[in-house]
């Protein structure tokens, strides 16, 4: 470890170090980081599809999704660009609910979004109460900048895995790297292991 001459840092008194993964700092803003323009789609035109290694693709409209039992979670989120945001509150439908009636042999999932974005995850990381399709943030409808009408939320992984503008999930027997994963970012992205880039 190389000490940087004259650097003292600034610990945020309000941040519990046990909640901030290594290399992260706490922000109160909610930065927007996307690789392209913000897609703007009306909820009426939005659907969510589970396809791939399933008998039949299953499709929900936004209103069908809203009619499903909802869960609200308050959680910390960690962006690979180093910011973390504590106690963010989201409401949406658990992936457990959406996958409940789906029979699949798949081990992997590839989330896909408006604008062409994709990101890959082991299917096990989407189940067991670990992931939801979120349509509200802090009690308000999710804005387009933050991924509305709905985004994937998988807060235990770096936030690029929580695909904005999500339109569905492709269940796969093989692991297909997504957008940032093909550009050298880590395939899994555990913030507590600092899995930022390939090889970390």
């Amino acid at each position: 470890m190389a000490v940087t001459r004259g650097f003292h840092g600034r610990r945020r008194a309000e941040a519990d170090p046990a909640r901030v993964p290594p290399g992260q700092y706490v922000t109160r803003d909610f930065p927007v980081l996307s690789a392209g323009p913000t897609p703007r789609r009306l909820a009426a035109d939005w659907t969510f599809t589970i396809r791939g290694a399933v008998d039949e693709p299953v499709v929900w409209s936004f209103y069908e999704l809203r009619a499903l039992p909802a869960t609200t979670i308050t959680t910390d989120i960690h962006c690979v660009t180093k910011w973390s945001k504590l106690d963010t509150t989201w409401r949406g439908v658990s992936l457990d609910t959406l996958l409940a009636d789906i029979d699949t042999s798949a081990d992997y999932a590839l989330a896909f979004s408006d604008g062409g974005y994709t990101t890959n995850l082991p299917l096990d990381d989407l189940t067991g109460g670990q992931a939801m399709i979120a349509y509200e943030y802090e009690g308000e409808p999710l804005t387009a900048e933050h991924g509305g009408p709905a985004r994937l939320l998988v807060p235990h992984l770096y936030f690029w895995k929580s695909a904005k503008w999500v339109r569905g999930i492709e269940l796969r027997d093989d692991d297909e790297p997504g957008f940032w994963e093909r550009y050298g970012y880590h395939n899994y992205g555990d913030p507590w292991k600092q899995q930022r880039y390939a090889g970390d």
Binding site: F7, R10, T27, W180, A198
Partner: protein, 247 residues
């Protein structure tokens, strides 16, 4: 679109500060020597890691300001007054100091001199930094396609790389347009408004020429400019954004 995966593990290495240039009151360019730099693409960034004496560490990402053809790696850092790392890098760092970094990172917000589509670069404030790498490389490698830069700064004194941009603007194949949004010196002949649809229509190629657009700057700036380009009929798939979020 072809992604070039980084197969190499990115290890931290100790870079030595060889040169510091004040670009503006708030912005310094830091020239670094590294034991093992694998080269980079214009538009990529690095992660910088600072360590306090008690072991506390802070990391941030900074765009690379130098072209792959330059002999030294340069980072250009703007001091954010409420920041934790940038005030150190701008106010405290001296020639001879060492900082840890790893990279290069990213492969999407990049341009190669062999790219054939005309490029529209739209910068807000310190968002000019990755474009400086692209413009320098374009000049050194005789880039094939024309480039238009639209750079929004608050005032004349806040134009980063001012003299260099004026020199670059005299070259064939590169157009530089600057808009000063808060104050202008007497006799200013450049633009004065914020980057909006009208200014983008004036400066950019029409959508049917299919330019590759790159937008970099603060979140709100990039959001507004990318929305305006989409509104003018540009293909969202040809608009790449790098939003400088957070502190």
């Amino acid at each position: 679109m072809e992604a070039t995966a980084l197969r190499r593990r990115l290890s931290w290495q100790l870079a030595t500060v060889r040169e510091i240039t004040a670009e503006t009151d708030r912005t310094h360019s830091i020239g670094l020597d590294l034991p093992d730099w694998p080269g980079h693409l214009s538009g990529q960034h690095v992660d910088v890691r600072l360590t306090a004496e008690d072991g506390y560490q802070a990391q941030r990402s900074y765009s690379i300001a130098s072209a792959p053809t330059d002999e030294r790696l340069v980072l250009t850092v703007e001091r954010l007054d409420d920041g934790e790392v940038s005030p150190y890098l701008v106010d405290e760092l001296q020639v001879g100091d060492q900082i840890e970094l790893r990279g290069p990172v990213g492969g999407y917000f990049v341009r190669r001199p062999t790219d054939t589509a005309p490029a529209l670069l739209v910068a807000g404030g310190s968002g000019i930094v990755p474009f400086r790498a692209m413009l320098r490389e374009h000049g050194a490698a005789m880039g094939a396609a024309p480039i238009r830069l639209l750079y929004s700064a608050r005032s004349f004194d806040e134009i980063i790389y001012r003299d260099e941009l004026l020199r670059i603007a005299a070259r064939d194949g590169i157009d530089v347009s600057i808009t000063l949004t808060r104050s202008q010196p007497p006799g200013w002949h450049g633009y004065t408004g914020r980057v909006d649809a009208a200014l983008l229509r004036q400066v950019s190629w029409p959508p049917d020429e299919q330019p590759a657009a790159y937008l970099c700057g603060p979140t709100g700036f990039v959001e507004a400019a990318s929305n305006a380009l989409v509104g003018l009929g540009h293909d969202p798939g040809r608009i790449r954004t790098e939003r400088f979020g957070g502190t």
